[in-house]
Every structure is written in structure tokens, then in C-alpha cells.
Symmetry: C2
Subunit: 697 residues, 2 copies
């Protein structure tokens, strides 16, 4: 391992071990209680397939309980123990799990079951696969670390989503598009990293929260990245795949749709051209000969200057199916992004609406994709703004495998300089009711595939990970990685529950710490929204790097991202009646809500409607006064964030305490910049004063 997770004193303090720091439980009584059974681990006679699970279990127990557990291969007689193993191999572990329990355990699931026998307590941890067992071990350790009651437990868990994917936007030169935590852990100077120790630590981190798929390179595939599927790089990629395989994670690559031209020596990338199809089939043969469990390709095509099937007059279905056909014999998948829009729009054009683009492009193709294709759909119709409505493709598409794409890296949400915990936002997205098959057709159900009987489904997210020692730049941003993965596993988990787990595992179980940090995290997204762009309008950021306020930053640009503010009002009319018609892309029951300014959720009001500044909101405030109020309030909330953190001095390792404090100080300054720029912009444009007479410039 790159940095031993046992050297807590050395590395736990800087955040390298994230939620796997396994600090000693504070509660001595509980520690003793757990140790009675956790000091003995009973395994079968075939330790090879459970080697990693066993090692993780031992090291976790050592950290959490301070106990060096004894591993035995015989059945214990009088002593309490953990019984560990894979079910269905004719081993002793089978005898602890009943038939009606076993049938509930899927190929990624596990059981944790505790029962008394005589004076002994047996805690069974088992899966029907090695991977399931690993998830079970990490789950048990989480229970210990969060001080759960184990006695009498019967916990059978399977992941809700088949695909639980991390997307890296890493370039092979080592840079990371939208990365805020250092350089790539995979690539440096156009080579695959030699620091495989860190990759192993990473695989372990992801496995501990149930991630089972990883795309290691940027969706924007440039010259050298195109060569990842050539012999120049494939052996190195296979080495990475091996590391992830041990932790139950399949490796995928982003591929260049024009690979046949770029690296194949052909004159075309036409998906219907027989030579092109042949080339990809042979390429698949080559890849799978080195990486037998290769996950497949992630494709960004015909998007932001990336090549695609449009060049040849073909559809996205033609493009995706051609690749899918090549991968199908090996069980590989094609993940096709729906982030397709006109990025050369004239700001003077009020007919074209970028928000419509994904739906307009992909709905006509519903049902035309092969079984091993998934469409990867960004949560909202624009691009990871702090507040957007849910993409109408969810609930629109019925005959197509779907992935929900989220963004963990904080491109538009403070770039890991600001604390912005996204789990509450993601919960809203997952819980959003598309009404597609009546009430309760939530996004989280659709993406599992269960609503429309899609064969595949799941979630993907752009990671916030880099080679900073603490992985995420802002140490607290680890919580977003954690939370994303936990929601992939079980989207019904509450934000409160996930946050509670993360704080206890990362910092401690002291109630002061748990309560304070939870409050900080759970309110931080709304705080960020308060001092940035209001009411769903978005895009009031500096172009290109997307950091910091710039109200007109995208207003006269070509990206289709406008607020249309004038001295009387602001917002984009996306209604069917008088606007771009975007609202009509939703199921009629939802469309009716967005179409009507009185019914439209106020947090999205300006996304759907152009409203006068003197419009009265439900709170009784005018729209302009709401803007002022939220912006002043946002800064006050950052002050509170800082005060809360400061109250934890002495309760958090000094290095992390000071590091987070410094970020919060920066956030406070920068939130004032946001407040003042936004308020000043609107004050200057409207001439309407703040009712409370606060300082506007």
C-alpha cells in the first residue's frame, strides 16, 4: 500500500485514508463488547479467494478495536467469532445461512447476521461471490466504526444499481479537466503511472463504498488518449485493470469515435462502413485478449467539437450500435453520453434552447439502441449548475438503458475551495417524480431499470479525485465521493444517514463533532446556492474556468446559456405557451407544473419563466428583494460555517483542522465577492434599493 492505513498517526491526520482511517473507537465499553467476537475470525480452507476481504477485516478491526484478530480455519467451539466466507462452495459458512436468506443475496450482495449459540456470539459475514463478501466486510467495519448494534443483526443487502461508475476526466499528460485536487493519479507526461501502490489504495477506497466500474480517462479524447487502445498503452492499462479487478471494479476507457481515422489508418469513421465495423471488432479482440473483463467504452460524440456519427449522416444509434456489436461477444458495454447541443449558438437567437437539446436529439432514438448500450444522461438539461430541473429524458426514454450522470467534482459549485456537500441535491434528483408511469415513477427507480424493464442501468459521476495527498483538495470534499457511492448502492438512504456515517468514519463518534459537521455539510449546498446565482437561472460565472461571479459572463456568448436580464425582469421563458417549449418535454403532469409560474417550484422559477423584479414570491418578498436577502444570508451562513468549524478546535487533527479553516476563510471572502457582485449588478440594473438598506455598491 502507498501509505499504510495503519500508520494513523502519520497519515490519518492528513486525510489520505479518507473514511478508512479506522481510528480507535472512543467508547471503551463498546470496544470491549465488539472485541469479544471480533478477536476471532473463522474462515474456510481456501483463503485465496477471500484473501483481500480477510486482510481488510483484520486491519479494520485492528484500527477500530485495537485488537489483532486470530484467524482460524476450523469451526470455533466455545468462543465468539466472525465467520467469513463465500456461500455455495460447500464450506462451513453455508451452514450459518438459511436457504430463504441465500436466495435474497445477489451476485454483489452480502449478508451480515449475528446470533448467539450458547455463550458465544457468531457474526456471519458472507456473500455469494468474492466481491459480495468484500462489500460485506466493509459494511461490517462501517457498522463498527459508526457504533451500530450488532447483536441479533440480520442484514441482507444488494446494490440498487447494477452499474456504479466513477468517471475520470483525466488526460494522459497528467492534467485533469475540471480537476481541483492536483494532477491525475493514473497518468503523467503521456505515460501510465508507475505508482501502482496509490492505485491500489484508490481501488480499495472505491470498493469500500461499492463502486464497481471506473472510466480512467477524460471523455474528451485527444491525440494521445486515442492511443490508449493501441499496443502503445494497452499493457499498462491491463496492469491498472488487474488492480481494480481485485477490488471488484471493471475498467472502462473513453474512446475517440474517430479512432479508425486517428489510429486505424482508415479514411472514415462512418459507423455503417464495413471496414470501420471490422476495425472495431478486431480492436475488441485485441483489448479483451489483454483485459478479459474490460468494461467497455464511454463515448462523447458530436459534442463540443468531438467527432461523431453526424459527420456521416448517421444517428447516435448507428454510432453506438456499431461499437456495441464489436463489444457484445465479450459482454462489453457502450456508454453513450447525451450531452449533445449546439455550442455555437448566437446569443441573439431566442428560439434555440440548449435545455431542449438532449431530449430533442435522443428521444427519437428510443428503442433503437442495442441491449449493451446505455445512454448516460446528465442530471439536468444544462450542465451541472447548482440548481437545475431534472432532465426530461428520465421518464421520457422507456426502451433504452439509462445512466444518471452526476458531477462530484465541484466545477460550478465552488471547485473544492468552497464547502458544498452535494448529497442533498442528489437526493432531490433521485427522488424527483417523473410521473412517467403515474405517481412515484422516481428517477432512482427508472435508472435501476425496473420501471421499464431495461436490462441495464445505474449511475455515473465525474470524480473529484486527484493526486493531492488528501485526494480531493478540500478534505471535506471526500464526503461527496462517499455520498455519491452510497447513493449508488442505496438511493433510499437519507442524506442525514450518509452524512452521519461519513463523519463518524472520517473524524470521530464524539457527538459534538458528529452533530457539528453534519450541520455544516447538510446546509452547505443551500448556502452556496444562496450567495451564487438565484432561482435556477445559473451560469453567472466567469467563462472557461467557471469560478467566481460574472453575471454577464455567459450572456453574450455562444454556449446557449443566458439569463436575459434587463431593467425590468430576468429569466428564460421556457414555457410551451410563449417560450422555447422546453417545459413541454416533461410528462404532462410535470409539464403543467413548470408551465405555470404560480405552480412552478420557486427555486426553478427563473429557469422556466422570465419574471419582473417586483413579482411577489410566496414568502411575500419581491423577486429583487429575495435576491438581496439570499445573498446577504448566504454570506452570514458561511460565517456560521466557519464558526462551527472553529468550535471543533482540538476535536479534529490539527492538520485537517487548519486546512479546512483556511478553506473556510477563503470561502468567506469569496462569498462576499459573490454577494457584492450579484447584488450590485441587479441594483445597478434595476435601481431598486435593498429594503433593509444594507451595503450594495
Amino acid at each position: 500500500m502507498y501509505k499504510s492505513n495503519v500508520n494513523d498517526e502519520l497519515y490519518g491526520a492528513n486525510g489520505y485514508n479518507c473514511w478508512l482511517g479506522y481510528h480507535l473507537l472512543e467508547n471503551g465499553e463498546l470496544r470491549e463488547n465488539y472485541s469479544q467476537w471480533a478477536s476471532n475470525i473463522v474462515i474456510s480452507k481456501e483463503p485465496d479467494e477471500i484473501k483481500i476481504a480477510l486482510s481488510e477485516l483484520k486491519s479494520g478491526i485492528n484500527g477500530i478495536l485495537g485488537v489483532d484478530a486470530v484467524v482460524v480455519t476450523r469451526e470455533p467451539e466455545q468462543s465468539s467469532c466472525i465467520a467469513l466466507g463465500v456461500l455455495g462452495r460447500g464450506q462451513n459458512i453455508d451452514s450459518y445461512v438459511k436457504y430463504d436468506e441465500v436466495v435474497q443475496i445477489g451476485n454483489e450482495g452480502f449478508i451480515i447476521k449475528a446470533f448467539k449459540t450458547g455463550n458465544s456470539e457468531i457474526v456471519v459475514v458472507a456473500g455469494t461471490t468474492t466481491k459480495g463478501l468484500l462489500y460485506g466486510v466493509f459494511s461490517l467495519l462501517r457498522l463498527l466504526q459508526t457504533e451500530a448494534t450488532i447483536s441479533g443483526i440480520l442484514k441482507i443487502e444488494n446494490p440498487a444499481n447494477q452499474l456504479r461508475i466513477i468517471n475520470h476526466w483525466d488526460n494522459i499528460d497528467g492534467s485533469i479537466e475540471r480537476g481541483y485536487a492536483g494532477k491525475s493519479i493514473f497518468f503523467t507526461d503521456n505515460k501510465v503511472t508507475e505508482d501502482l501502490g496509490r492505485i491500489k489504495d484508490y481501488a480499495r477506497l472505491l470498493c469500500s463504498v461499492g463502486i464497481n466500474s471506473i472510466v480512467i480517462n477524460n471523455v474528451n479524447v485527444h491525440k494521445y488518449e486515442s492511443m490508449l487502445i493501441t499496443d502503445k498503452y494497452l499493457n499498462d492499462v491491463a496492469s491498472l485493470a488487474q488492480i481494480f479487478r481485485d477490488y471488484g471494479i471493471k475498467l472502462y476507457l473513453s474512446a475517440n469515435f474517430a479512432s479508425t481515422i486517428e489510429i486505424g489508418g482508415l479514411a472514415t469513421a462512418d459507423p455503417l462502413d464495413p471496414q470501420v465495423r471490422k476495425w472495431w471488432k478486431e480492436k475488441a479482440d485485441e483489448i479483451y485478449s489483454l483485459i478479459p473483463d474490460f468494461g467497455g467504452f464511454l463515448i462523447k460524440a458530436d459534442s463540443e467539437f468531438r467527432p461523431g456519427p453526424f459527420t456521416y449522416g448517421r444517428t447516435h444509434a448507428d454510432g453506438a450500435n456499431m461499437l456495441a456489436e464489436a463489444l457484445e461477444p465479450y459482454g462489453g458495454l457502450v456508454i453513450w453520453r447525451c450531452f449533445v447541443y449546439n455550442c455555437m449558438q448566437d446569443w441573439r437567437d431566442r428560439i434555440t434552447d440548449r435545455a431542449r437539446a438532449a431530449y430533442d436529439n435522443f428521444m427519437p432514438l428510443d428503442g433503437l439502441f442495442r441491449e449493451n448500450v446505455l445512454l448516460q444522461i446528465k442530471n439536468g438539461p444544462m450542465d451541472f449548475q447548482v440548481r437545475e430541473p431534472v432532465s426530461p429524458l428520465f421518464g421520457g426514454l422507456q426502451k433504452t438503458n439509462q445512466l444518471l450522470e452526476l458531477q462530484i467534482t465541484q466545477e460550478y459549485t465552488g471547485q473544492q475551495k468552497h464547502l458544498c456537500y452535494l448529497v442533498p441535491m442528489w437526493k432531490e434528483i433521485l427522488d424527483f417524480d417523473t410521473m412517467a408511469k403515474g405517481r412515484n415513477t422516481s428517477v432512482k427507480k427508472i435508472i435501476t431499470g425496473s420501471v421499464f424493464n431495461n436490462k441495464l442501468g445505474g449511475m455515473a459521476a465525474v470524480t473529484n479525485i486527484g493526486n493531492d495527498l488528501n485526494w480531493t483538495g478540500h478534505q471535506m470534499a471526500q464526503s461527496n465521493t462517499y455520498g455519491y457511492a452510497r447513493l449508488c448502492w442505496n438511493p433510499d438512504l437519507s442524506a442525514e444517514k450518509i452524512t452521519d456515517e461519513w463523519v463518524r468514519m472520517t473524524y470521530s463518534n464524539y457527538e459534538k463533532v458528529v452533530n457539528t459537521v453534519k450541520e455544516m455539510l447538510l446546509g452547505s449546498w443551500r448556502t452556496y446556492e444562496n450567495y451564487t446565482s438565484p432561482l435556477g437561472i445559473g451560469w453567472m460565472v466567469n467563462p472557461n474556468h467557471h469560478y467566481g461571479p460574472n453575471v454577464d459572463g455567459y450572456e453574450y456568448d455562444k454556449w446557449g446559456t443566458y439569463h436575459r436580464a434587463d431593467h425590468k425582469g430576468i429569466g428564460v421563458d421556457r414555457t410551451v405557451k410563449s417560450g422555447t417549449g422546453y417545459a413541454g418535454q416533461y410528462h404532462k403532469d410535470v409539464a403543467g407544473i413548470y408551465e405555470d409560474m404560480d405552480k412552478c417550484p420557486e427555486e426553478l422559477l427563473l429557469f422556466f419563466h422570465h419574471m419582473p423584479y417586483d413579482y411577489i414570491l410566496k414568502s411575500g418578498e419581491t423577486l429583487i428583494q429575495y435576491i438581496y436577502n439570499t445573498h446577504f444570508k448566504g454570506v452570514e451562513e458561511v460565517e456560521e460555517l466557519r464558526n462551527k468549524w472553529f468550535s471543533l478546535k482540538g476535536w479534529i487533527s490539527e492538520e485537517i483542522f487548519l486546512h479546512v479553516l483556511e478553506r473556510l476563510d477563503g470561502q468567506l471572502e469569496h462569498s462576499k465577492e459573490w454577494r457584492d457582485v450579484i447584488n450590485t449588478y441587479f441594483y445597478r440594473k434595476t435601481g431598486i434599493s435593498d429594503e433593509l438598506g444594507r451595503k450594495i455598491y
Copy 2:
């Protein structure tokens, strides 16, 4: 020569030869007339010192008249001729120039004198130095190329300005800061170029218009550029200096004020530290041992994050004088830039005014600089905007050598994608009456040193030259280089006259061409101003690259560049009475004009005053209507520019015709973008409609 200037068919057509294309005179009668005397060139017996002059003369005559002139060293008897030589060397040439003429010729001056003797016409071209003679030759060729009357001419010319400087902002990696015509001609990949042929062609171009000083590297001196004064580069720099020396041009370097630290191994750059002073003296010894006529150092200190004397609690005078002391034994100069301001301003701060900075920083130092120091002062108080008032340091400083700094490269004026001929602007600057010693204390007089008896003075400008085949990207932008140099030589030349010369020398003497191109050039600055930022306010550009409209681009930034527009009015109050007090930095007679909104020249109204949109201008238009009108008009004027150029189809070499046409097409599109963004911004902010009901978005 890199590209022969004789191969007109090959290279003349693409603009490489600029105004030295020497195309055959269209007027056959005149050609014959000139050829009578131009076919014979009489020189002294020492051709070495006049070798280059002679070669230039011969090649020019060959091109312009189609004549291969005969060179003889005896005095001609009956035949007409050109008599060429350096005066005061006891040669025959002396006998043609009277004593009262000789005394008028300075060490860079020349005489051109034509007289009849019998049936012969003698045309004397002479200087008192080789350099003066060279200038005389290029002047004679210009007269021929522009169809001037030579018979009976008596022309004695001396340059108005001692220092006529070109500044390169070239970096040693080959990039050019604010360069729009390719890469550096001097540097590539951290090395000095090996393409010395092109450098020679460049030296010749500059010499032909009287430039006598060149700074070859960027004022922002980074790591490798700091080493230009070390043995790593000095020999290569000496080779460049040799080439320029042949054409009467001294080479200067931009130096890093912190060189003692960066390359000297000292711990300080404190200008009063004896070790620092010693280091620089030894460095001067080293440089001058290789480049005996080295010009000196250009220094950007304590500006935009460059190091300087402030670090050590010293003044700019301390810093400059320390360097001046080191160079003084060799006659070297220190040119110290006055572009010093707070580039970390808070936009909320309305007290600090960047416009004040140069004056506030340097006026207290007037009289404290050594005799071989010059202050280089940008024409305006901000940064090369399309319209600024003249810097109050001109007329303010009295006991200090001064250089006027202009910008030929079109950073804020269309980046050589737009046609923007700057000579009319520069004329206004040079003619600006500071009133410092009563009426007619113009800037052009002050910088010669004559008003306040300063020992040194002149002009410097940032070049628009790069390694594009036509040197300037936009071929017509060559006119700005030409015009700048001609104004250095003689600021009393009218814009009309300079333009006439350039068109005739570059394209042809056909009246249709001359008149059309002159109209295009002379109106283009005002046209550019019309469709960009109005009434002297400036800065409505995209940050960093400074291209294209962005009204709020610098409004909430840290650079001290604000327009303060709200729904009622726009402009910066820089009056003494109620504003930042900047107006008070001028001589009281000028200050009184700027202070009073009724007297303030309207083109600078918003630079000095915050005005309501309904303010009535002298034209009878409201301010807002003026903004609309000029922006619609600007685009119409670009359409006219394009039409004018199009009317020259067949009159201009096809390559240049199409190249310029393409730029004008681009300018037309982009001027519409400017018009629409600016008009829309103000319409949305004010709600005031265009009286003529034209389209605003």
C-alpha cells in the same frame, strides 16, 4: 537577404517587402525623367562606409525605375548623376554642400539637393555620418516612389526625436505578448534565432523609416529572458546587435530588476546595496566588452507583479540610478517604465483611481533621476485604450528625460483582425497641448527635450511585428509601423501625408488606389471607436486576451478599470470637486477644461464624468442615443470599408487583395457583435429604446 526584394513577382505580392517593394513607377515619362540622373551614381574612393547605402540606392533605383545604375568613383563631367557620400571626410562630395547647409545637418541628418550644371542635373545625397547618409538614400527613394519633384530640391532633414525606439514584447520561448502576427522573429524554443537573414531584412525596414533603437525582448522578463545578459546568450545577442548596427540601430534589452538574485547568486536586489551595485557594474563591463554600442536596459519594475525597488523600501529613482551608474561609463541608458499601479484593487473601492497612479508615483521623483535615465510614459493614464486623455506626466515632469510610449500592436484596437490605423490618434496625442509653459507646449515638443532642456527624449512603441510572412498579420497593419516611425522622425508630418507615402510605396501611385486606401486608413480608427466602447470609457473587452466586447468584463475585477454604469448613468467621476481628483493632475488650464462637464471634450466625457443617459450632447442627441447611433454607424462604416476595398479588385496583387478582403469580412461580422452586445447591454440596463427603432436584442 531572406527573401530577395527584387523578386517582386514572388514576394512583393505577399507583403513581405512592406513599403520597400520598389515596384516600377507607373508613370513612364516620370521614370525617364528620373532615370536621366539616377542612372549614374558617383561615390568617393572609400566605398566601405557607404556600402549599404549604395546597395540600397542601386536596388531601389532598379526596382522603381527599371535601371541598373552605373557606379563611378570619379566626378562626372557632362552627365547627370547622383552624388553620394559622407561629408567632412575631404571628399568631392563636400564641394556640393555649402557651409551654411552643412551646419544644419546633425549626426543623424541628411541633405538632398538637386541642381543643374550645364545640361547636367546633379542630385546630391549626403550626411555627416554613414547613418545620416542611409537615411538620405531611403528618403530619396521615397521621393521617387511617391513621384515627388526632384528638380531644384533642397531638403535638409534631421530627426525631431533623438530616440526612436521599437519595443518587442517577445519571449524567448518564441511567443509574443500581445502579438498578433505569428511568433517572434528573434527567439524560438528558448534560443536566439538562427535565421539572421530575416533579422537583416527587418533592420533594413526599420532603418528605412529612421528607427534607431530596438529592445528585443518583452518588458516582462521571466526566467530564461533574465539570462539574456549572461554568457548563455550574450554572444548570440551580440550577433543580433551587429546586424542592427549596420543599419544604425542600437540594441537594448529588457532586464529583470531582480537579476542579482535570479542570475547573480546574491540574496538581494536592493539598489543601495554595495554588492548589488558592484554586480551590475561588472555586468555592464561584460556586456560592453561584447556589444560596445549596447543601448541599455528597459525596466518594468514594481508593476504587475514584476520585482522592483519597493521591495527594499527604495524609490524608483534609487532603482533606476543604480543601473544608470553602471551603464554610464559606456554611454548606456536606463529606460524606466512608468506603468506602475495597484493591480489588486477592490472594485468596490471608489477612492483609488488607477488613472492617477503614474503621476502619483513619479511626479515626486522629478529631478532625482540621473542624466542617462529616461522615463517611458504610456500615452494615456490607463493602458492603450482606443481613446484616453494624454498622461498628465507630460507637462508635469520637467526635470526628467521622457519618452512617449505608444502601442503599434493592436491589443485593444482589433488585434490586426480589424483595420485600425492609429496615426490619427497618435497625431492627437503628439499635438496635445499640455499648457505647461503656456500655449503650444505640446507633447511632441516636450519629448524632444527642447521645452525643459532635457538632455534626452523621444518615442518608443510596442511593435506589431512577428514572423508572419507579411510581418504584421493584417497586411495593412504595416501602415501603423510605418506611420509610427515617420512620426518619430517628424511629428509635424500630417496623417494625410504619411498615409499618402505609405500607400504609394506599398501599393501604387494610381490615384484610385491612393485615394481609396487613404480614405480607408484615415477613417478606420474613428470607425473602430464608433462600434466599441463609447466616449472615452474604455475596457469593455473580454478579460485577458482583450478581444471582443464584454461590457462588464472588467467591471468587477481587480485591475482598476471600471465604467460604473447603472440604470441611470455611466462614467467615472475623476473631477477634483466630487471625484477621484485625477483631473487635477493636469496643468490648471487643462484641468479646468476636464473638470467642467460642459467644457470637457465629448470624446472623453465618460472618462472624466459620470453622466446620466439623458444628458444632451452638443449634437442634440442624448447620451444613450449617441451610443446607439455610433454603434449602428460604426458597422455601416465597416461595410463601406469593405466596399471600398472591393472596388480595388484588380488594382492590388490578388494575394493581398483576398487576404485583406477576408480580414474585412471578419471585421464586419465582429463589428456587428460589438454593436449588438453594447447596444443590448445599455438597452437592457436603461430600458430606453432607440429613437429610430433599429434592432436591439
